[in-house]
């Protein structure tokens, strides 16, 4: 590899991996991946779901042995036989709570590798070096050493994992989706810790699919797609978000989302209507509705409460508030059985633990929901015989494999199709699918998308939960975005792209500063403040605070409007650096662009005042917005 010109002179390669391959059963997870990491850098490892980024990081950490390729670490060719090997030579991985022992104390967990060694444990020395490690991370006194790990928050557990890796003097640390369950404040603290680790000369791998974080913390980026490296060690500063997305998704993938025609489902009756649904603690206030024949995407980040929402709708999780209507009738959430009999189908997120019954034949797995919906004493399988045959013909599954001993012998894609068919057997009016392509290889995904589109075309209302924004955008007619347990936007997918979805899905709490500023602006100047994305003649509002109803710009957070439909069309069209009065009178508005510290376009912040108010200086407002943007 050609050395990057920006490389600091002392930045020697810590790890070089070339042509790494790894196959699970028949699935090729890595097909020639390259990766290079220097000392003193944070290297982003990116890719769509199933691209192989987790597999590659587990290969580096010794969890998986690679098949072909070379791995050079600090100048030596190595082959790891396990995580112990990796730890011994200074490679550690920080995963989500997985490698900690919940019933041991924090201190014991940090020095867990020591417990495996013979000889006496010196608790006082352990405590001392534990304190030193935390101090070096700028987190002195932030962990109660004597508590059992089970009592800690996710962020604290992560800190224990980091300290544990440093306890064995790790030189290379892998962070596998470390921010997935953290609050924005905790993310900031984590980034501070990571920066300190970088400054101490360690090499860090940051696995993530949140682009804003990648831009915030990494020095270089490697992108994987379908098990191969498609972008090798590019300096982050030279990249744009669009380039990264293109590299992650790839041009050839565009085809799998092709749809025959986009049919507006506006006229069809509403099949499922969810209003102010709550299910403590994850779901706070979610509303959405789906029409017959429509595919609705439910998007958001990990921890936004999407799975919990659909589980509460289906009766798998107790509701604490709100109403659900199915075809106009209220649906009580006593149990899945009630929901199924009312005409709801649900493909849960985890195929192995929530969908497949391994000891029953394929045929009985297919008939499982039929059994659940049935009222009689006998199975009543015979009555479904014809429908089973029809469905199987559609799946391309030979009849003789029906009695196969185990579902587990099929590929993930076929398993998923059988699980979906389980619900089609009942002719549901609404089918909800949670992460329908999780663990399904990219080739088979197209088949599942086609299946879902066919189902919708037959008049079934389909709800798809996915954390893969590309999938959401490609598959759904409309997308409801969730954040922190609330539905915050409901927009046609044609109006959205991955960047806008990312901004909309950002945890509300991470908008705290922004909201604070909008609040301050609106209140001090007795008007309305908003933050919006503007493209051509359309606007998507990310946040809005109205202090004076007379200054209301005509849109709320999460809403999309044509500029002409708002109450401030002139100002939005001009976006001049001055207060622009509307020709129709009534309001005058300043619209200021907002940019992230790394120069990314984050849309526009506006201040609307009703005409009577005194106009503040535009420069002063702009300065305040820039100050706020610098902290984002």
């Amino acid at each position: 590899m050609v050395a990057e010109s920006q490389a600091a002179p002392d930045a020697s390669p810590l790890l070089v991996m070339r042509g790494i391959t790894k196959t699970f059963d028949r699935t090729r997870a890595l097909g020639g991946a390259d990766f290079e990491l220097r000392e003193g850098e944070i290297h982003g490892l990116l890719g769509a779901n199933g691209a192989g980024k987790s597999t590659l990081s587990k290969v580096i950490a010794g969890h998986h042995a690679f098949e072909d390729g070379t791995m050079r670490y600090r100048g030596h060719d190595i082959r790891l036989r396990g995580t112990r090997d990796a730890l011994r030579i200074g490679i550690g991985i920080v995963m989500q709570e997985t490698s900690l022992v919940p019933d041991l104390s924090v201190l014991e967990n940090i020095f867990l590798p020591e417990l495996g060694r013979s000889g006496r444990l010196d608790r006082r020395a352990m405590r001392r070096s534990g304190e030193e490690i935390l101090a070096s991370l700028g987190q002195a006194d932030s962990l109660p050493f004597d508590w059992e790990v089970r009592r800690l928050s996710s962020a604290q557990k992560q800190l224990v994992e980091i300290a544990k890796a440093l306890g064995v003097r790790a030189k290379l640390l892998i962070f596998d989706e470390p921010t997935a369950s953290l609050s924005p404040g905790e993310v900031e603290r984590l980034f501070d810790v990571m920066s300190r680790l970088r400054a101490s000369g360690r090499g860090l791998v940051f696995v993530s699919h949140r682009l804003e974080e990648v831009f915030a913390i990494t020095d270089r980026v490697t992108v994987l797609r379908e098990g191969r490296t498609v972008m090798a060690a590019k300096p982050t500063a030279e990249l744009t978000q669009a380039e990264l997305i293109r590299a992650m998704v790839g041009a050839e993938l565009g085809g799998i989302y092709d749809r025959a025609e986009t049919k507006p489902a506006v006229a069809a009756p509403v099949a499922l209507e969810v209003e102010h649904l709550a299910s403590a603690p994850a779901v706070r206030d979610v509303s959405f509705s789906v029409r017959k024949g429509e595919i609705l995407g439910l998007g958001g980040l990990v921890g936004a409460g999407r799975s919990e929402t659909v589980e509460a709708v289906f009766g798998l999780r107790p509701r604490t508030g709100g109403t659900v209507r199915l075809n106009g009738r209220p649906l009580k959430a006593e149990s899945p059985k009630t929901a199924i009999r009312a005409g709801l189908g649900f493909v849960a997120e985890d195929r192995r633990t929530q969908n497949i019954v391994p000891d029953l034949s394929v045929k009985e797995n297919l008939l499982l929901a039929h059994l659940g919906a049935r009222r009689g004493f006998l199975c009543g399988y015979g009555a479904r015989e014809k429908k089973v045959e029809e469905l199987l013909a559609g799946l391309g599954l030979p009849q003789e494999r029906l009695l196969d001993s185990s579902m587990l012998n099929f590929s993930g894609g076929m398993q998923q199709k059988i699980i979906i068919a389980r619900w089609l057997l009942l002719d549901p009016s609404v089918l909800i699918l949670d992460e329908p392509t999780k663990g399904v290889d990219i080739g088979t995904r197209a088949g599942i998308y086609q299946m879902l589109r066919d189902i919708a075309a037959r008049g079934v209302a389909v709800v798809v939960v996915s954390s893969d924004f590309e999938e959401l955008l490609g598959l759904s007619d409309r997308i409801v975005v969730m954040s922190d347990g609330r539905s915050i936007a409901d927009l046609p997918s044609a109006m959205l792209d991955e960047e806008k979805l990312t901004l909309l899905a950002a945890p509300r709490t991470s908008m705290a500063r922004n909201t604070e500023l909008l609040n301050a602006l609106a209140r001090e100047h007795r008007g309305a403040g908003f933050w919006a994305l503007i493209e051509d003649d359309r606007l998507i509002c990310l946040n809005a605070v109205v202090a004076d109803p007379a200054a209301d710009p005509g849109f709320k957070a999460g809403e999309a409007r044509a500029i002409g439909e708002t109450r401030i069309p002139a100002a939005l069209a001009q976006r001049a650096p001055i207060f622009v009065p509307e020709p129709s009178g009534g309001r005058t508005t300043l619209v200021v662009p907002i940019t992230s510290p790394r120069g990314h376009d984050l849309g526009w912040v506006g201040l609307s005042l009703s005409s009577g108010e005194a106009l503040p200086s535009p420069e002063a407002i702009r300065a305040r917005i820039d100050t706020m943007a610098a902290t984002l």
């Binding site: 899945p336 633990t353 929530q354 019954v357 391994p358 029953l360 045929k363 929901a369 004493f377 009695l403």
Partner: protein
């Protein structure tokens, strides 16, 4: 069904073909044991001994039906022996006060009631089946001693013997009862919604619930059945002996669990069959009988039975590990 070509016709909703092969293997094992014992002891194949073994099979066999249901859901019932002892005493006392059928009904209801308590503690409150039934085992035996006043109840009416010693078409009524019970249990597990739900609960409870099956009810039902059938089993014992002893049913859980496991059921749930259990019962009874015929001390018999259970588990683990690969 009509449109399916004959060779592709699904042969009912049977369990895995591996399970069926396992039953065939176990049947062969049973035959080998029978042949070996008939060679070792000339008395083994006599009419008297065969009927003796059938009588023993009835008692273990009835308990093993409930145990199969419990194990299919992934649970275990250690209390069957002491529930049999307690309900036997209840029967012995009740039969002094009321007609025989009513007394039997009281005993069976008591057994079912105890099973209901265990089942609710396990399925609704989520307690470990092992611990709950271990506790019930201790309580049951203790109550049996207290209710009986530590002595056997021997003034059982002669009429009880009719339960065992009536022949229907030349078949003893207790053996006929066993055959009918197994046929019903097999049909229930194979052809009814409840039976399939029991398999699904044992194999993947979460998936069963998400598919709308009533997992709570069908997790409790097997314990109720197990308790009630323990009382039925002890009724046959008492009918033969015309005596109810607080020690009755001692170590019965061992034989019942062994029979079910030898019959190919997985202790993790979801796998097993009535046919396998029946073969397992015969194997257990033949081995006990054979050890007696050969004059092996009762103290060594425990070691033999224990070794057989462990070997059966080991074989199952090795086979399923191979199947998984």
């Amino acid at each position: 069904m009509a449109s399916v070509p004959l060779e592709n016709r699904p042969s009912g909703f049977r369990l895995k073909s591996l399970g069926r092969r396992l039953e065939v293997r176990m049947l062969l094992l049973a035959l080998v044991i029978a042949v070996a014992l008939s060679l070792l002891s000339p008395y083994f194949l006599t009419r008297a001994n065969v009927f003796n073994m059938l009588d023993q099979s009835v008692v273990i066999g009835i308990v093993a039906v409930g145990m199969t249901f419990v194990i299919l859901t992934g649970g275990i019932d250690l209390s069957v022996g002491s529930v049999a002892g307690l309900t036997g005493i209840i029967l012995g006392l009740a039969v002094q006060q009321m007609p025989i059928p009513a007394a039997i009904a009281v005993a069976v209801a008591a057994g079912g009631g105890i099973g209901l308590v265990s089942g609710v503690l396990i399925a609704f409150f989520g307690l470990a089946p092992f611990v709950v039934t271990l506790g019930v085992m201790a309580i049951g035996r203790s109550l049996a001693y207290i209710l009986s006043g530590q002595t056997a109840i021997s003034n059982i009416p002669m009429g009880m013997q009719d339960i065992v010693y009536t022949n229907v078409f030349g078949v003893p009524s207790n053996v006929l009862f066993l055959v009918v019970l197994y046929a019903l249990a097999w049909a229930y597990l194979t052809y009814t919604k409840g039976g399939r739900t029991i398999y699904a609960v044992g194999s993947n409870k979460e998936a069963a619930r998400a598919a709308g099956l009533n997992t709570l009810f069908y997790s409790i039902l097997p314990y109720v059945l197990s308790g009630a059938l323990s009382a039925v089993a002890i009724t046959f014992s008492i009918s033969q002996l015309l005596s109810a002893d607080p020690l009755m049913g001692n170590a019965m859980e061992l034989d019942a669990i062994a029979a079910v496991v030898i019959g190919g059921a997985s202790l993790y749930g979801g796998r097993g069959s009535m046919i396998g259990t029946l073969i397992g019962v015969f194997i257990m009874v033949m081995i006990r009988n054979g050890l007696n015929l050969m004059g092996v001390s009762p103290f060594w018999q425990g070691s033999a039975i224990g070794t057989i259970i462990i070997l059966a588990l080991l074989v199952e683990r090795l086979l399923s590990a191979r199947a998984a690969r």
